[in-house]
């Protein structure tokens, strides 16, 4: 039976854009030991939208993404992907859902025993055995060209810089043409120029592919550049949500302080 929240977001989204949320997080709770990280989070993202989740370090932003992809299980609440609650699904049941999602880890998490090309090919080798090897190889080259890494096919992850690793990680996340893209601190640790290039890349990909994207970041400038909506987390809750201009109008002290300091 649909809850009031389900009806509210469905109505809001249909009214706003005629789209049903690709990702809907409802009343999500997560505790590690005695530390309550998420205390009833509600969020939703639709096709073509980019939601930036901001907050101070340690407020559970990355944990939120891990709950959405299903690597962590929530203590309470639900995560719905295309309307299906994935919170209680077992590992093998998550397979088809995860094929629709791409995840860029904070440190790229490239497989260090594989080359750059093999890293990007990894999801294709496992899930697209229906297409020819030559076609898979072409797809890998195309993806690496899109992220500006055409010249690094045979390099090992340890041979390339952090920014390059993120680009390769992004290419790998896009390998199965996901409908949902989750990015964990895509510009963390990068210099301003590299950050700008990653932002531009994400914007271009989003414009072309119209995915539902959630970007976790503490970089407000990056969030302003990429996101259509921002959500500010504090003490396990979303304290403000909206466009950057709407957040600037907020009377909440934490929001004012966050925008001032960033």
């Amino acid at each position: 039976m649909a809850t009031a929240y389900d009806n509210a977001i469905k109505q809001e989204d249909v009214e706003r854009s005629g789209r049903v949320p690709f990702v809907a997080v409802q009343n999500l709770h997560k505790t590690f030991g005695r530390h309550k990280v998420l205390d009833g989070i509600n969020l939703h993202v639709s096709r073509g939208e980019t939601l930036a989740v901001l907050g101070r370090s340690g407020t559970g932003k990355s944990v939120l993404l891990r709950l959405i992809i299903g690597i962590e299980k929530p203590d309470a609440g639900s995560v719905c992907i295309h309307g299906q609650n994935i919170s209680g699904l077992a590992l093998d049941q998550m397979g088809e859902i995860r094929k629709k999602m791409g995840f860029l880890f904070q440190h790229a998490a490239l497989y260090d025993s594989l080359t750059v090309a093999e890293n990007v090919a990894f999801p294709l080798e496992h899930h697209r055995r229906d297409i020819a090897q030559s076609e898979r190889a072409d797809r890998v080259r195309q993806l690496l060209a899109e992220v500006g890494m055409s010249g690094a096919l045979d390099k090992m992850p340890s041979d390339i810089s952090g920014g390059m690793q993120k680009r390769v990680g992004l290419a790998r996340a896009l390998a199965l043409e996901p409908e949902i893209l989750l990015l964990d601190e895509p510009t963390a640790g990068l210099d301003p120029i590299s950050s700008g290039e990653i932002d531009e890349l994400i914007l271009t990909l989003q414009r072309e592919r119209q995915m539902a994207s959630i970007i976790v970041t503490h970089d407000l400038h990056s969030a302003r550049a990429i996101a259509s909506r921002l959500a500010l987390l504090n003490e396990g809750n979303v304290v403000a949500e909206g466009t950057f201009d709407e957040l600037q109008q907020s009377d909440i002290m934490f929001v004012k302080d966050f925008l001032k300091q960033s």
């Binding site: 590992l91 093998d92 995840f103 880890f105 440190h107 998490a109 999801p123 199965l176």
Partner: protein, 282 residues
């Protein structure tokens, strides 16, 4: 101030002001060890179930399995063969000396053959492979765990239990008996050679005398029991690796624990397996 004394008044020395000194009691430590012991076995049981479920359901990771067969088998062969050769010489020298004292030099071939194939070959192979393969698997998976590579595998809709654990464990199970055979052959060859250097003994005589009256029951069970060793080595190493936390220190702990616990359980399993073999095959 009353004259009850400082301690009676509740005055605390500066060290303890605003802070309780938490000295663990013996009971607390014992309780922690007790629950930790059962938690470890519980987690291992759950992990084993996940691996078994993943290993018997498609899609199967044949390419990774073949790669692991090479890693565990081919690359361990030189070390295992060398260890077997050394054991053969040692047993040959010790056996000749001991048997000479009892006037039983004619028993030398059978002594060497039975010692190597039934006892020393399997356990020595198991311990050598536990050290090389167990540490390697533990460290590799631990390193993948702390750098989120295992999470990335899971996020790519690939079952890490199937790809990483089941393949390695199956490779260990399949390769241990073969490596044991290799170790046994090397031990027998060098054992014969060491004896032949002192007293003339043709290889034909050695084999005929050593295997005289032997049945398959005498040699096959001790060799194939090493498949259980492989299960223990692979399972413990994968378990320790995939549950690692704590960065580089965690990787080191995982590698060490893989070897120590793998070797320990292997030796304990040998006690049980020997009794089982004696009960059912002799």
């Amino acid at each position: 101030m009353s004259d009850r004394g400082i301690a009676a008044q509740g005055f605390k020395p500066p060290l303890l002001q605003g802070q309780e000194l938490d000295v663990p009691s013996f009971a607390g430590t014992a309780k922690g060890l007790f629950t930790g012991f059962f938690e470890w076995f519980g987690s291992l049981g759950f992990f084993s179930w996940q691996v078994l479920k993943a290993g018997v359901t498609p899609p199967y990771e044949w390419r990774e399995l073949i790669r692991q067969l090479d890693e565990v088998g081919s690359k361990s062969l030189p070390l295992v063969a060398l260890a077997g050769a050394a054991i053969g010489v040692v047993i040959s020298l010790e056996a000749r000396y001991s048997l000479s004292r009892f006037g039983a030099k004619s028993m030398f071939p059978a002594t060497l053959v039975y010692s190597v194939i039934q006892v020393m070959g399997p356990i020595m192979t198991g311990l050598v492979v536990s050290g090389r393969v167990g540490a390697g698997i533990g460290a590799e998976l631990a390193s993948m765990k702390v750098t989120e590579q295992i999470d990335a595998i899971e996020a790519s809709a690939i079952n890490p239990y199937r790809l990483l654990a089941a393949t390695r464990i199956l490779a260990c199970i399949l390769m241990l008996p073969l490596l044991t055979l290799a170790a046994d052959v090397c031990a027998l060859l060098t054992g014969w050679f060491a004896q032949a250097m002192v007293e003339p003994l043709s290889f034909h005589q050695f084999i005929e005398s050593g295997f005289s009256g032997a049945t398959f029951n005498a040699f096959l069970p001790p060799t194939f029991k090493t498949a259980v060793y492989g299960l223990i080595i692979g399972l413990i190493a994968c378990f320790q690796g995939m549950r690692t936390s704590g960065g580089a220190a965690g990787v080191g702990r995982a590698a060490t624990n893989s070897v120590v616990l793998g070797s320990l359980f292997l030796i304990l399993a040998d006690v049980v397996l020997v009794k089982f073999i004696l009960a059912f095959f002799h």
